[in-house]
């Protein structure tokens, strides 16, 4: 349970909660807990079960997806104020990627119960929360589209395939 002034001040700057007033934030913070991570510590692996969303308060998290053997592709670095892990929270599916601390990190954790409580006690805040989340989803989708294009360009450049000439 987090209600300290520092935590509330941090949450005020998190994009997901930008429409929340002080009371809403305090009510939500009650359902959150802190999760410190040492450098390189793995939070969860691809395929693990999970129903929590994580907000990075300090440090950097690496989100990576297995490619082959011990090699993974780095999908994104999550910096302070940004969040990850929401996909398993929303659809209940296993984790789609591995999350690992690149540096010493501190996370705020919001579980399914906390989200449920937010929806029931503060529907207006929950709507704002989900709207902000959808906006972030759209940005991430755009970034993923760029990543696919970049990976395709990598493949074409690495094989020297001259597709235009075909």
């Amino acid at each position: 349970m987090l209600t300290s002034a520092a935590t509330l001040a941090f949450l005020r700057d998190v994009r997901l909660f930008e429409s929340f007033d002080e009371l809403d934030l305090a009510a939500l913070a009650v359902h959150m807990r802190e999760r410190p991570l040492r450098r390189n510590q793995i939070l969860f692996r691809e395929g693990d079960a999970g129903d929590e969303i994580f907000i990075v308060r300090r440090g950097t998290m690496l989100i990576s997806k297995a490619v082959t053997g011990k090699v993974e592709q780095v999908l994104v670095r999550v910096e302070p104020g940004d969040f990850f892990g929401e996909m398993s929270l929303l659809d209940g599916s296993p984790r789609s990627a591995t999350a690992q601390a690149e540096s010493e990190a501190e996370l705020l954790v919001l579980g399914r119960d906390g989200l449920q409580a937010l929806t029931e006690t503060n529907p207006r805040g929950a709507a704002a929360f989900f709207q902000a989340m959808v906006q972030v989803f759209i940005e991430r989708l755009r970034r993923s589209t760029l990543q696919v294009a970049e990976a395709t360009r990598w493949g074409l450049e690495a094989t020297g395939l001259d597709v235009e000439a075909r």
């Binding site: 390189n40 793995i42 053997g69 592709q73 780095v74 360009r153 690495a158 020297g160 001259d162 075909r166």
Partner: protein, 408 residues
């Protein structure tokens, strides 16, 4: 004019043995490109014929025909040279090296342009490179084949390396490495080698007693000697790098990998040395191997000065043998392996494809697809295959003898 985008990069996370340890690597598409191994279509799918000018005495041209699509390409002599190397096991980087050795210069556009032409004419394939890999790829439905393919792929991809080593080698050179390339070092090396040779001769008279020093644990002793030797392979590669710095060229990479997927080895990329003189190339190639001469001599001297029949003497003598064996293996060009001596030989003879051509010629003779021809080149090919076969047999016999001597 449009700006060309920077080469695409992938950021990869490579896990180490530890549960959480990892390394982040930025892999540019250019690295993938120079390590790619283009493979021409099967022999039955193309024809090639030479076209000589009856008027001007110049290099011949070649007509390459794709028999499946009836498409034709005109290749210059250098392009024909590159085409012959597109066997699926030679990387573009190796082809560029061979090109420099053959023509003494490098045209940076020739390889990509040729690849574009060949792809356009559907004369390159993207199949797995070795026959084993092809067989495994054909049987991916079977669990064993899939597991074996995965294991080989995983081993081949184990590579611990750094592309930012030039500064390290420069510092190493500045802080004492330059001494290796002075006359004093050469004289000291020769002196130590002579002392080592004298000690080796002395030890050879009582070799059985010396190796008996391993006592009841000969296999453990030999394995330890081998492991210690493995560390000297890293030193061998470092000295190659220092030689490269000595000639003011760039050391591009240093690392560890599994050669062919199963032979653990250290390596250093000193291909920049090909932009300098032949003398620099020879010195760079030979200097790494001389590490084994010096270490072997030192071990023999130690073995000759410790109590006879003890573990220390056996250990030192076995280490000396293995170091000098590595020296011979590195510098001896006739062993089917492209070690330092082989590179010096092909550089001096100006025949960068010696092994490839010699094996192809021998295969044609054995399968009845070709006939013996008398010529300088054919003589060189037969000589290479014959000498290499005899040498490999002798090497295996020598090692069997050492193990038998130590264990009986």
């Amino acid at each position: 004019m449009t700006d060309r985008p920077a080469p695409a990069k992938l950021e990869l996370l490579v896990r180490r043995d530890g549960e959480e340890d990892f390394e982040l690597r930025q892999v540019a598409s250019l690295v993938g490109y120079i390590n790619s191994r283009p493979r021409r279509v099967d022999a039955g799918s193309f024809e090639i014929s030479e076209v000589r000018s009856g008027v001007v005495a110049s290099r011949p041209h070649f007509i390459l025909k794709n028999t499946a699509t009836d498409r034709y390409l005109l290749l210059s002599t250098p392009e024909r040279f590159l085409w012959d190397q597109m066997n699926g096991s030679t990387s573009l980087q190796e082809m560029a090296t061979a090109y420099v050795l053959e023509y003494g210069e490098f045209d940076f556009d020739i390889i990509p342009n040729l690849i574009h032409k060949l792809q356009h004419a559907q004369l390159l394939t993207l199949e797995p490179r070795s026959r084993l890999r092809q067989a495994l790829a054909r049987h991916r439905g079977r669990r064993v084949a899939r597991a074996l393919e995965l294991a080989l792929t995983s081993l081949e991809r184990i590579r611990i390396s750094s592309l930012n080593v030039h500064g390290f080698f420069q510092s190493l050179y500045r802080w004492g490495g330059f001494l290796l390339f002075t006359r004093v070092a050469i004289v000291a090396g020769i002196g130590l080698a002579l002392l080592g040779a004298a000690a080796a001769v002395q030890l050879s008279r009582e070799m059985r007693d010396v190796l008996d020093g391993f006592g009841s644990r000969p296999v453990l002793g030999i394995v330890t000697v081998k492991l210690l030797f493995f560390a000297s392979v890293a030193l061998h590669q470092i000295v190659h790098g220092l030689a490269c710095i000595h000639y003011r060229r760039r050391v591009r990479e240093f690392g560890f990998t599994f050669l062919h997927g199963f032979v653990p080895t250290f390596y250093v990329d000193v291909t920049d040395i090909f932009m300098t003189s032949r003398r620099a190339r020879v010195v760079t190639a030979v200097s790494g191997a001389l590490v084994h001469l010096v270490l072997g001599a030192a071990w023999f001297v130690v073995a000759a000065h410790v109590p006879v029949g003890g573990f220390t003497q056996a250990f030192a003598a076995a280490s000396g043998i293995i170091q000098w064996q590595a020296l011979v293996l590195s510098l001896y060009p006739f062993c089917f392996i492209e070690m330092d001596g082989y590179h010096v030989l092909v550089d001096v003879l100006g025949v960068p494809m010696l092994k490839h051509d010699a094996l192809a010629y021998a295969k044609r003779l054995f399968t009845g697809a070709g006939r013996i021809r008398r010529g300088r080149e054919e003589g060189l090919w037969i000589g290479y295959v014959a000498l290499s076969t005899v040498s490999v047999a002798a090497f295996l016999a020598f090692n069997v003898w050492i193990i038998l001597s130590a264990t009986t």
